[in-house]
């Protein structure tokens, strides 16, 4: 995966500079008609994040290439998830292209068949540009985008892993080594915590709902690994689940700043960016703001590492986003939307994601682009962490329909633990509360 070919590097490098020209040249060679839907207008609804920002900033490229006009917007993810579901359920979505958080909405979207199967389009040479190179997408990302019935109703856009951010300065001062296991992480975090000086060993999400993915990071390292078994039965009150809960409780209670029970990623980021936390476990996308001296006091001092191992396994949480096409849109719009999808996840845009630190692309070629990586303002350990994380990634949330309800129910219990509540009792309560919801939902599908 890390091996580079000179050709790939050159292609990527050139792509960075002159994309439209390159694609048009490719056009001329292959005879692929990018302009067959010229004059069409499509609406694109994205989750607000740095990836979407890149797509929106560069969408002129697509408009110039195809003659299709794009109206795109990005909305905060919480509202976005709620809104697109409601719009799809109404039968008249206001958008043709949608970005879907697979870890939250995959099953729901798949069950209702709100987005169209993309496999026939991929197989159609009149619709898919010859240089699209679908083989370039990681097998894991493709599997994540594919439903149980074999339909691929989204195109992988990017994958997100939980990684360990650490403050190199604090580590150096304390002569600390990177923790290999969660137990080591806890010991180290305790050693690095000096509440009086306003320094904390660890910071991570404590807010209900958001906190579940930190908890499952620990759970992934246990024997059972997942929240549900193969028959979709809940396993969140087992001894393994309790071990993860205890880890969550003691880390956040003893080594994180007071008030962490209300922290989402943004409070964690503020704390870490102020140099007040030695370690932070969260998604890969935070490198950009952390390395920006305009926004962060720790720019240039941030270390990146793969998450530690648990007692039985070594995994990091995997999340993913895919782009889908509304099945309810008319045929021309669906065609235009498919061209947009091809452009959005082309090699150039995917490389832009990686080199700007906006996240881990779903394609593999950007990681091989040594030249671009060297030119990036992020350290080598960042890219190595991404590649290594990709090898041990495993879905961080169960593939069920009522994900939000699951996260709210379990998350409330986790928050209570930070307040001192008994781990086993809280997990039991949350599990009992959510089990009937899950059973009902599974019966329905």
């Amino acid at each position: 995966m890390t091996e580079i070919t000179r050709r790939a590097a050159l292609r990527g490098g050139a792509g960075l500079l002159a994309v439209p020209a390159l694609i048009q040249a490719a056009n001329a060679q292959s005879g692929f008609n990018w302009r067959r839907f010229a004059g069409e207008r499509i609406e694109v609804s994205l989750t607000a994040n740095p990836r979407s920002q890149i797509l929106i900033q560069n969408q002129r490229e697509f408009e110039d290439l195809t003659g299709i006009r794009v109206g795109s917007e990005q909305i905060p993810e919480q509202q976005h998830r709620q809104k697109f579901v409601i719009e799809y359920a109404s039968g008249r979505p206001s958008f043709d292209v949608i970005s879907i958080s697979l870890h939250v909405n995959k099953r729901q979207v798949g069950r209702a068949k709100w987005t169209m199967d993309l496999k026939p389009l991929l197989a159609d040479p009149t619709m898919t540009a010859p240089d699209f190179d679908f083989q370039d997408f990681g097998a894991g990302a493709v599997a994540y985008s594919t439903q149980a019935d074999g339909r691929m109703d989204t195109l992988p856009e990017f994958t997100d892993y939980f990684i360990l951010y650490y403050n190199k300065e604090i580590f150096q001062r304390a002569n600390a080594q990177l923790p290999k296991t969660y137990d080591e992480l806890y010991e180290l975090a305790k050693r690095l915590t000096d509440a009086r000086a306003g320094q904390f060993g660890f910071v991570g999400r404590g807010l209900r709902n958001a906190n579940v993915v930190l908890y499952t990071s620990f759970l992934l390292g246990t024997q059972q690994r997942d929240c549900v078994d193969a028959n979709m039965r809940l396993m969140t009150d087992t001894p393994d689940a309790i071990w993860a809960g205890e880890m969550y409780k003691k880390l956040l209670r003893e080594t994180a700043p007071p008030g962490v029970a209300g922290f989402n990623w943004n409070e964690c980021q503020t704390t870490f960016a102020q140099g007040r936390a030695a370690m932070w476990l969260d998604g890969v996308g935070f490198a950009t703001p952390l390395e920006d001296p305009q926004r962060s006091r720790v720019a240039g001092k941030v270390g990146y590492a793969v998450v530690p191992a648990g007692p039985a396994h070594h995994h990091c949480c995997l999340f993913g986003t895919g782009l889908g096409i509304s099945a309810a849109s008319n045929e021309r719009k669906r065609g235009a939307a498919w061209l947009y999808l091809q452009w959005a996840v082309n090699k150039t845009n995917q490389l832009r994601f990686l080199t700007s630190g906006a996240g881990a692309p779903a394609r593999e070629s950007p990681y091989r682009n040594e030249e671009a990586i060297r030119a990036s303002r992020f350290g080598r350990d960042y890219f190595e962490t991404l590649i290594a994380s990709g090898r041990i990634a495993r879905p961080g949330l169960p593939e069920i329909v009522p994900v939000t309800e699951f996260r709210d129910t379990l998350g409330a219990g986790l928050t209570n633990m930070i307040g001192g509540a008994d781990v086993a009792a809280e997990l039991k309560r949350a599990t009992d509360a959510f089990r009937p919801v899950l059973e009902q939902s599974e019966r329905a599908s």
Partner: protein, 314 residues
Amino acid sequence: MPTGVAQEMTEAAALRGAAADSARRRRAYARRYWPFVVPAAAVVLAVIVFPWAFTLWMSLQEWKIGGGRSFVGLANYQRLLTDDRFHWSILRTLYFTALAVVIPVVLGVAAALVFHRRFPLRGLARTVFILPMMATPVAVALVWTMMFHPQLGVLNWILTQFGIPPSMWVYDANTVIPTLVMVEVWHWTPLVMLLVLGGLASLPVDPYEAAKIDGATGWQAFRYITLPLLMPFIMVAVVIRTIDALKAFDTIYVITQGGPGTASETINIFLYLTAFAYYNMGYASAVVVVFFVLIVGLALLLLWSRERFKDAVR
């Protein structure tokens, strides 16, 4: 005597007749004013009464967005009876409402007494004081969120300057509701102040002069003259505050989304999550109906007290 009785009887009949006549006249008189109400009635029927009826019907359905819909009778209501999360949300709403009524009313009365006096730059001070009432809650809520950060927020910095230990504000289950109340107080004390200020302006002068002659202290004059006279105005403030506190959503949603845990999950937040995060429309509708019944009961109570106090004023 018989003539007297007869006379009395005719008088009584005449009185009765007059009463009936006046009632008839009043009805006839009232009928003439119906056209004034028709446009508003149409709007109210379409956007207010229709949703009520629809919600009632929906509450009898099991319906998840993206799934099927089926009639389930009262099953949603049965589930509400045993749903601890819902029960807690009611208690939290009442807790929040009680604080968010009492504190602004007390502070608002005090502020009105201050702003009723004359002092330099009173106009400017008063304008600044009523600005929060006009400010967009969502916008201000986002700014509050930054101010509440337990380690880096400006509020804790101010506290430490005064030697007060930092607070966890919305980041702790015990302080979250009082903190949200604080935001509510900040927003709505000005309204109470304005209502009471109107009351102060309308107070008669005579009782004070009498009290001065009797040698009453300032506090006594306030306690025994001002306060009773202000009571109707204060009641109105209580009514408005109760209504708005029960409805509070924007600030809570933006600042905490019901957290930490479920510590600030009021009925409104629970309702929002059930409908638009869990997509459980039938169950959410049942929540609306129950909430609605609570509110109608309260409305009648408030209306009754308003009428009573209005009579007392006249």
